[in-house]
């Protein structure tokens, strides 16, 4: 008998079938990963086990924890099980903690609701648990508040709350998706060691196959609320039976071929750029201190070249992007596009600014929901002195939409009628419509499912051939940068620590920081090698 047995679990909300006959099990000390794309029902499977579902949800099938049926428990009985027998860790550490309570109180709360003990005893226990998850007392006293911690540290606090009572089962829903690669590696190590120490079962929900391959003993692949394939990690990967599993795997490691970059003529020149932010005064009359977000950065982007920019959150990537776009004034150095400064006086030069466009990460937040697509994609026209009107405007819209694989008719629709991947296509159409010399992609594929991401990467490679694009591709996702760029910059604490041909930087990194980044990034296993090792066994 396993620790957790989920049998024929079905869930419907408002007559919509969310889960159909989901069956899998988790043994004590075992790590089981549930994977699939958004909408596959993987998160709701976890919530169904916890019975934290919307009011209108109807659940059938059975969930056994340690031999006891959970689906017929009353809500108060479930409250006694949550936190004590099943702990849960969530995706977004920045918002998973109550901002007005100290971390000590929040960890001790898990203990106090399940165990009758004095508060100081519970706080003592909270201290031990925080020590265990790598938050030592000298730097992380119980009185700390969440806003004083980084994302990785907050996730450790959430883990501490989840394991404070040593539950039999830990559910982790995309626990590292919002974290940097190096932090991700540390958190995954922590989870693994907790499973080994406490003999817990770990049910991990993740969309990242590379993480799955590295972590899990067994994999459950889900699509549209159904389990399509399940098995031991190595066997399943070596012999993927379901076409969806194969598609997921291929899309995760999707590579594209870019046309050769033309001869070197500089397009964007960033010379000794410095960007300082004023910090709030610490003393009334003392001069304000500064935080240097971008420190003496120089590089050249040649026409037709695809340049990548990688680094962890807070390294200055976004600040540099805004400076290049002329959205912020720099304190030192200059940024030239086609030989002309982006910034003249105290604002961006329109004539220079119209030569570049940007595509942002969030396909949901970067459009005005009240405008139709034709108005959205023609927004860059305000940069032109004589924007096309009438038929010329309609032709430009139709051409841009067709170029990104949409139909000219889509121009009359509103943005909510499109999926995430289609929205990102519209964002690209918006960037293309004035035929810019340079496009900045700021984490442009990070929010997309792997299959959609693969399609967008293909689209970019195609556009590269038909439009002679030059781009700066900013991302924390090393595997994407590796395939979509010719050259790469590695940024750390506001400085460029390494730059070079993408392939040579990845195969032979020079700077210790680049090495640690690449080492921390989870990679998909080599299937050939996997098969051979299984055959030997």
């Amino acid at each position: 008998m396993s620790l957790l047995d989920v049998t024929n679990l079905s869930l419907s909300i408002h007559r919509a079938h969310i889960l159909r006959d989901v069956t899998f099990s988790v043994a004590a000390g075992e790590i089981v990963a549930v994977t699939g794309e958004s909408g596959s029902g993987k998160s709701l499977t976890a919530m169904a086990v916890m019975r934290l579902l919307p009011d209108l949800a109807r659940l059938s099938g059975s969930v056994h924890l340690d031999g006891a049926e959970l689906t017929d428990r009353t809500e108060p009985q479930m409250c006694a099980i949550r936190g004590r027998d099943i702990g849960m860790v969530f995706q977004e550490p920045m918002t998973a903690l109550n901002p007005v309570k100290s971390i000590g109180d929040q960890v001790a709360e898990t203990i106090l609701i399940h165990k009758a003990m004095p508060r100081d005893k519970a706080l003592e226990r909270a201290r031990e648990v925080l020590d265990r998850v790598g938050l030592p007392e000298d730097r992380f006293p119980l009185s700390r508040f969440p806003h004083e911690l980084s994302g990785g540290q907050r996730q450790r606090v959430v883990i501490a709350m989840a394991i404070a009572l040593r539950p039999k089962l830990l559910i982790a829903d995309e626990p590292t998706t919002a974290l940097d690669v190096t932090t991700q590696a540390q958190i995954l190590d922590l989870l693994k060691s907790l499973v080994a120490d406490y003999g817990m079962g770990l049910l991990m929900i993740t969309h990242d196959l590379a993480v799955v391959a590295d972590m899990a003993d067994r994999i459950v692949v889900m699509r549209h609320g159904e389990v399509v394939e399940t098995g031991a990690t190595k066997q399943l990967l070596a012999d993927m039976k379901h076409p969806y599993t194969r598609m997921l795997f291929e899309a995760s490691g999707h590579t594209v071929t870019l046309p050769d970059a033309p001869a070197e003529t500089p397009l964007l020149q960033v010379q000794n750029v410095v960007r300082d932010y004023r910090l709030p005064r610490t003393r009334l009359l003392a001069p304000p201190e500064h935080f240097r977000a971008v420190d003496n950065v120089s590089f050249t982007l040649n026409r037709g070249e695809r340049l990548g920019l990688v680094g962890e959150s807070g390294c200055g990537k976004s600040t540099l992007t805004r400076a290049i776009l002329g959205l912020e004034q720099v304190q030192g150095g200059q940024i030239l596009l086609d030989g002309k400064p982006v910034f003249s006086g105290h604002h961006a030069d329109r004539a220079v600014r119209r030569k570049m466009q940007v595509v942002f990460q969030d396909p949901f937040g970067s459009f005005n929901p009240r405008h139709r697509v034709d108005r959205l994609v023609t927004e860059p026209f305000h940069l032109l002195d004589d924007p096309p009107r009438g038929q010329a405007r309609r032709d430009a819209i139709a051409e841009a939409l067709t170029a990104v694989g949409l139909k000219p008719d889509d121009a009359r629709k509103y943005i909510h009628e499109f999926s995430g991947g289609q929205r990102q296509r519209i964002a690209i159409a918006r960037a293309l419509i004035i035929r810019p010399d340079l496009i900045l992609f700021d984490e442009a594929v990070s929010a997309l499912d792997v299959s959609v991401r693969a399609q967008i990467l293909d689209l970019l490679a195609d556009l590269c051939r038909s439009y002679d694009l030059t781009w700066l591709f900013i991302s924390h996702d090393l595997s994407v940068v590796r395939t979509i760029t010719d050259r790469v910059l590695v940024m750390k604490s506001g400085e460029i620590v390494e730059q070079g041909e993408t392939e040579s930087v990845f195969t032979n990194p020079q700077h210790p920081y680049t090495k640690s980044l690449i080492a921390a990034a989870p990679v998909l296993p080599d299937l050939g090698q996997l098969k051979r090792s299984l055959d030997h066994a």
């Binding site: 916890m50 934290l52 809500e75 108060p76 409250c79 006694a80 099980i81 949550r82 936190g83 004590r84 702990g87 849960m88 969530f90 977004e92 918002t95 998973a96 903690l97 109550n98 901002p99 007005v100 309570k101 100290s102 709360e109 898990t110 609701i113 399940h114 508040f145 806003h147 004083e148 959430v158 709350m161 989840a162 709030p280």
Partner: protein, 315 residues
């Protein structure tokens, strides 16, 4: 926390200084000499001059500003042009009605709003929520003087539990004073409480959708426990803002209710002073109200910091 409080205090003092300058000079540039206004058009020039000297109008504007501010700091607001009595005394008497009334009304509105707002948020979309929302809709839509008249009709005329108007004074004892302010306070509190309940409800609903509420439930807290332990305090910030605004309004904006209940409050004083061109009274009351508003904002700022540790850190 102390730094935060000191910083807020400094900004309070600066705001007061700026406000006093603006009030003084705006009212001073208004045409018309109070002395000749008081004595009428047939007054002798030397009588006017004598009165000007008596009122302290014969010195430079700067000097008069300094005298005015200095007077206020020592509790001397000057003499009313119309009544020839000390403004400090006039305001003092009125304040002893308006301030307790405002506090009384605010307390009542909080007592109505918090339970109603929390109850409605916890039962979103259910009959209980709809009932609260319907009632608050009425409370906002119906003017407070209508409530006042209904209350008088029911509790003063029919049931004879309360007097129909007037204020007995605090020398009759705390209980008697509060008793005579009860109907006005209720009529002021009903619309304010309805607004506050809606703010509480929507603020709490926002918080209920936050990730940390889900974390709290995953720990094993029931819906109710999660709401009280993690929801309410986080929902307080917008509620405190509205409460601050409401208190400032209640202090001087109660003029219609004062009129309905024949209460000698600040609202009526200002109204009378404006009608009789008693500029120095207007000036003083306005300054006092500005002071009250700024002080309330200061207290609200401190309350924010008490509720939210992130503000304490951001000095």
């Amino acid at each position: 926390m102390l730094r935060y409080a000191l910083k807020r205090l400094l900004s309070l003092i600066l705001s007061l200084a700026v406000a006093s300058l603006v009030i003084f000079f705006v009212i001073e540039v208004a045409p018309g000499d109070p002395a000749s206004f008081m004595l009428g058009i047939n007054a002798q020039p030397d009588t006017v001059a004598a009165l000007r000297a008596e009122l302290g109008l014969d010195v430079s504007k700067t000097q008069r500003y300094l005298n005015w501010v200095g007077g206020m700091l020592t509790g001397d607001f000057g003499t009313s042009y119309t009544y020839r009595t000390s403004i400090t005394e006039m305001i003092g008497q009125r304040l002893w009605v308006s301030l307790p009334l405002a506090l009384y009304a605010l307390t009542l509105s909080t007592l109505i709003a918090f339970p109603a707002g929390i109850y409605a948020a916890a039962r979103r979309g259910k009959p209980g929520d709809m009932a609260v929302m319907g009632a608050t809709q009425l409370g906002i839509a119906v003017p407070n003087f209508w409530f006042a008249m209904m209350l008088v009709l029911i509790f003063a005329i029919n049931l004879r539990w309360f007097g129909a108007g007037g204020f007995v004074g605090w020398d009759k004892g705390l209980w008697a004073g509060l008793h005579s302010l009860t109907l006005p306070a209720i009529s002021l509190a009903l619309p304010q409480g309805a607004i506050l309940a809606r703010v509480m409800r929507s603020s709490l609903l926002d918080i209920l959708g936050e990730d940390f509420m889900r974390t709290a439930r995953a720990k094993g807290l029931s819906r109710r426990q999660a709401l009280w332990r993690h929801g309410v305090r986080n929902a307080l910030i917008p509620v405190l803002t509205i409460m601050g605004l409401q208190f400032s309004f209640l202090l001087a904006g109660a003029i219609i209710i004062e009129q309905v209940f024949f209460l000698p409050g600040l609202g009526r004083l200002v109204f009378q002073a404006i009608s009789s061109r008693d500029l120095i009274v207007v000036e003083s009351v306005v300054m006092l109200l500005v002071f009250a508003v700024i002080l309330v904002n200061f207290l609200v700022d401190l309350a924010y910091a008490a509720v939210d540790p992130r503000l304490r850190a951001r000095t």
